[in-house]
């Protein structure tokens, strides 16, 4: 029988607590480092054709629900500024896309009862289709629209920029996300901070 890590045990009470706020902060800290070094190691700038930060956003919401969703839009504000990939106003405009990029995976894993350690074909399919492809399709669409509104790309280049953004980010996020889920999830689901619901 498939293991359902999201189901509450009999008598189990889960409430958001200080451990979640601490984990949110630490996760944001990791996101800042991953986002900053990812952008500096492969310096492509705001076009974001390689941004492993999306993997952090996806696994964050799978492990920590809405706390991961909050971290998903907070850490890019700082990491983009530190790495020089996007100025503050552009990063602020990315917030809705970053939130969706994070929460898509968290929502789908809870909705379809997938295991965070990617144990079955269904887990891989949901992670790839919703957590990576759908999330990045939306993120790239929103992101390129923001770039267009800020005059950083011409209207005629919108679709090409979208394709570059979507493909580059999807590959990086899929590889890093799969690694993190496969190797770290077994550890995370045994911790206090792991969220079976959205907040606890």
């Amino acid at each position: 029988m498939e293991e359902n890590v999201w189901a509450l045990e009999e008598g189990e009470v889960r409430r958001p607590g200080i451990v979640h706020i601490v984990m949110l902060a630490l996760f944001t800290g990791i996101g800042i480092v991953v986002g900053t070094f990812g952008s500096l190691a492969i310096p492509i700038g705001f076009v974001s054709a390689f941004w492993p930060g999306q993997a952090i956003q996806a696994v964050g919401s799978i492990w920590y629900g809405m706390w991961g969703g909050i971290a998903a839009f907070v850490f890019p504000l700082i990491s983009n500024a530190m790495s020089g990939s996007a100025p503050l106003p552009v990063s602020l405009a990315y917030i809705p896309a970053n939130f969706v990029q994070g929460m898509a995976a968290g929502w789908s894993f809870r909705q379809f009862k997938c295991h965070p350690a990617l144990k079955t074909g269904k887990d891989w399919l949901v992670f790839t289709l919703i957590g990576i492809l759908a999330a990045n399709a939306f993120g790239a669409a929103w992101g390129t629209t923001v770039l267009r509104l800020f005059g950083l790309i011409t209207p005629d280049a919108h679709s090409v920029a979208w394709a570059g953004w979507f493909l580059g980010n999807s590959v990086a996020s899929w590889v890093l996300g799969a690694l993190l889920l496969k190797f770290i999830s077994p550890l995370v689901i045994r911790t206090k901070a792991f969220c079976k619901g959205y907040w606890a």
Binding site: G84, P87, V188
Partner: protein, 297 residues
């Protein structure tokens, strides 16, 4: 033989480097410096004129020099500056749009259009001014400074606590990351000779130890907070307000108030002029007008 000893230069570690403890910048309250992030990092959004944005960029570099930041540390941003320029200009040349009023000219056998190219030129400098407006803050301030700034601005306790821990965690993880990288270099790894795909693969390998450390730290920190009676509300048991020791160490002076008010006024005036009256639009750029005159003549 007489030996001369160099005086020890005490440095303070910021999020992006180090800065001398004697930097004149530390005469200012952290809140003033935080407002400078919001001012310098955002004001260029209302300014399309490359002349002003280049001047702002120079001003930021002068400000960093005055703050005794090691400007050579900014070299890490050079590849990014080049690739962004290449990307933006390539996109502008390949997809210029089809407005018949554009002024066309030939260069190396390629037909180029002045208006989209100039727009890209203006956008590039606007982007750089905003980027360096934010980089200056992270180059000159520690996590503690940001914490003091947001607390001085009366942001709720749970937000300030989260923000300070996140920034502190970023600092800790950067240190961990440096340790991992140095350990790899000590074993003979030469990142500079690696291809982009190899660098990306290597990068993925850093994540596992970082996450393992984070999970361990989350438990330690939350247990320590619980033991000290911390609550998300920031209140102590019984409902009283927790005393804020860190804020007592910093005083807002007249100079700080003057600088904060000046920045807020300039920001508001620039925003109103841009949104309400169309000032600072790219069409008003003297350089653009000069180039158009050259092409028309």
């Amino acid at each position: 033989m007489a030996q001369t000893t160099q005086p020890v230069r005490k440095m303070r570690r910021t999020l992006l480097g180090t800065i001398p403890v004697t930097s004149p910048l530390y005469q200012l309250h952290p809140a003033t410096r935080f407002i400078s992030l919001l001012f310098l990092g955002v004001v260029s959004m209302f300014i399309d004129l490359p002349e002003i944005n280049i001047a702002l960029l120079i001003l930021i570099l002068v400000y960093m020099r005055w703050a005794r930041v090691d400007i050579s540390g900014l070299r890490i941003y050079l590849p990014l500056m080049f690739t962004v320029a290449i990307f933006m200009f390539t996109v502008s040349i390949a997809f210029p749009g089809d407005d018949p009023t554009f002024h066309a000219f030939e260069f190396l056998g390629i037909t180029l259009y002045l208006e989209p190219l100039y727009w890209t030129f203006a956008s590039y400098w606007r982007l750089m001014a905003m980027l360096f407006g934010t980089i200056q803050y992270f180059s000159t301030n520690r996590e503690r400074d940001t914490l003091v700034a947001v607390r001085a601005l009366k942001v709720p306790f749970v937000v300030t606590y989260f923000l300070s821990l996140a920034l502190r965690a970023a600092g800790m993880f950067m240190e961990d990351m440096r340790t991992i990288r140095e350990a790899e270099r000590a074993r003979g790894l030469d990142e500079s000779s690696m291809s982009l795909s190899d660098r990306a693969k290597l990068y993925a390998m850093y994540m596992i130890p970082l996450f393992t450390l984070a999970i361990r730290r989350a438990d330690e920190i939350s247990n320590a907070l619980y033991a000290r009676g911390y609550r998300p509300s920031g209140k102590v048991e019984g409902g009283g307000k927790r005393t804020d020791y860190i804020l007592t160490k910093y005083k807002i002076r007249t100079l700080d108030i003057v600088l904060i008010v000046t920045q807020v006024i300039i920001f508001t005036v620039v925003g109103v002029l841009r949104i309400g009256f169309g000032v600072f639009a790219v069409t008003q750029s003297p350089l653009r007008q000069y180039l158009l005159t050259l092409m028309s003549g």
